[in-house]
Amino acid sequence: MRREAGYAPGAGSGVKKLLRILGKRHQTDIEALSAYLDGRLEASRASAVIAHVAACETCRTVLEGMRSTRAMLRAMPSVDAPRSFRLRQADVEAAPRVPARTSPMLRWSPVAAGVAAAVFVVVLGADLATRDSGGGASLASRQADERTGMIQDDATFSQEASKGAPTGAGQSDDFDGSGGAIRPPDTGTSIAAGSGPAADASTEVPLTAAPTPNATEAPVEAMIPADTSSAPNTAPEPAGSTAPDAGADAAAPTGPPPDGDASVPAPGAAAPELATQPAGAIPPGASRTEAPASRVDVRPSATAVGEITALADESENDDGGNRTGFFIVEIAAAVAAVASGVTFVAWRTRRRGTA
């Protein structure tokens, strides 16, 4: 019979009043009753309510129910504050302490952005460095070749192996005291004489000889060597058994730090190799890729670092894979840096907005 609809704002109360007064079906004017309870109806409307409620049981019920509801609400106890909410100087000085509600992810986003950016720069630098040193890398690459050649008695590689062997030997024998990388030209010539395929060695050397690229390469590899001295040393052992002694000589003698430098280029050299001989990978590529694997197996004594260099060797022997790896890491780092940065900026602006 009656619909206790919520108050419809703007509905003309005059019409309702009329309906109520006529005692017809009506919507109970909740708002009027509520305001009447609080004494907030103007006199004329209040008297209309009084008159209507006297006649309309429905509205009377609502009014009484609302009155007792209000009584229950008023009976709700007022509670003492459990403690003083006074602010201490520290509360106030602690700058906008909103972050309490922000997730740790957001708070670390600037750090993440920085790290990602740093990774990007480092990887990009490494990428460019290896790319630039393409020509000069040949020394290192030849050393790598030397090893592969040593392990595989491949006809194609024997030449390269002999090529590489001299350089390696030269570095260790002739120029122990200094960074081996810079010597290549000399070593190439001097040792080329000693080994069979001298012609190959000499022809290659010029390319390699370019001092600058080598110099750039040297430091990078130098970092690995010191620790890895065991790795290079282990490598030669198998090499010596399979291939020209020159290779073995080159690495074996290495005792003091400088030697480490000389022998180290081998593992690191793989990278340059990639740069220098992208095309070269075509015919010998198949056999060469196998080489690293076997080499890794050969050194059971390798230290952890040695393992790493071995791995590096391996991966770097694969031209395309290496480049792609750089590319992927660069892209990932760049994306991570941008994403973290954007997240942080968005968070900051939002925080400013709310503050």
């Binding site: 008023r74 509670v79 459990p82 003083s84």
Partner: protein
């Protein structure tokens, strides 16, 4: 019957005005004077809006902190409705947080709030006391089922005894809107609490008698 709860009773307006002036000058002690004046009202608003004593405590602290930080935005209006608005916003934040973490159910906190409420009244017997506590819990849970705007209007009007005008300032709406929100809130509560009517009337009678 129409006695307003203590927190809605205005202190000396001049004293408050002086404290507001000091606070605006960056005087923390001045601001803390205002905290002392209003913390009961702020805390009770939060308690009824949230139905949980710990949450209310957090919200009240947040409210005072953000009030101090946004003092610059306070110019030329009454201080208390401005502060109550900040408290209401703190409650909204808390409710939003709670919405994201359903772990906090609406019922669980009730027990917590009751602990605080049940201060034994020596004037009434233990039965009446128990009845009153039960009723308070039912009213509180019904309040929590109201839409937030209606809840705020009803809490401020019927529980805390604020005038329509001050509620309108707090909610930044017209007095007509306040009336409407209070009416709709009361009506919903009436239907929810209908079965309790008799009980509450008895309770009221007993209160009057004692």
């Amino acid at each position: 019957m129409d006695v307003s709860p203590p927190e809605a009773i205005r202190g000396e307006p001049e004293a408050e005005a002086a404290l507001v002036r000091r606070a605006l000058d960056g005087d923390l002690d001045g601001f803390n004077g205002l905290v002392a004046l209003h913390q009961r009202a702020v805390y009770n608003l939060c308690l009824r809006m949230l139905g949980s004593a710990p949450a209310a405590e957090d919200a009240a602290q947040d409210a005072f902190l953000s009030a101090f930080r946004s003092l610059r935005t306070f110019r030329g209006m009454a201080f208390r409705p401005w502060l109550m608005r900040i408290a209401a916003n703190a409650c909204t934040d808390e409710l939003r947080r709670r919405g994201r973490r359903p772990a906090l159910s609406l019922d669980a906190p009730l027990a917590g709030s009751d602990e605080h409420i049940d201060v034994p009244d020596p004037a009434v017997g233990p039965e009446v006391e128990a009845l009153r506590a039960e009723q308070a819990a039912l009213v509180q849970s019904a309040l929590l089922r109201l839409p937030e705007e209606q809840r705020l209007a009803v809490v401020m009007c019927d529980i805390q005894g604020f005038a329509y005008e001050e509620i309108a300032l707090t909610m930044r709406c017209s007095v007509g809107t306040v009336k409407s929100r209070i009416a709709r809130g009361r009506e919903k509560l009436r239907r929810e609490l209908g079965p309790m009517k008799e009980q509450s009337l008895n309770l009221e009678r007993q209160r009057i008698e004692t």
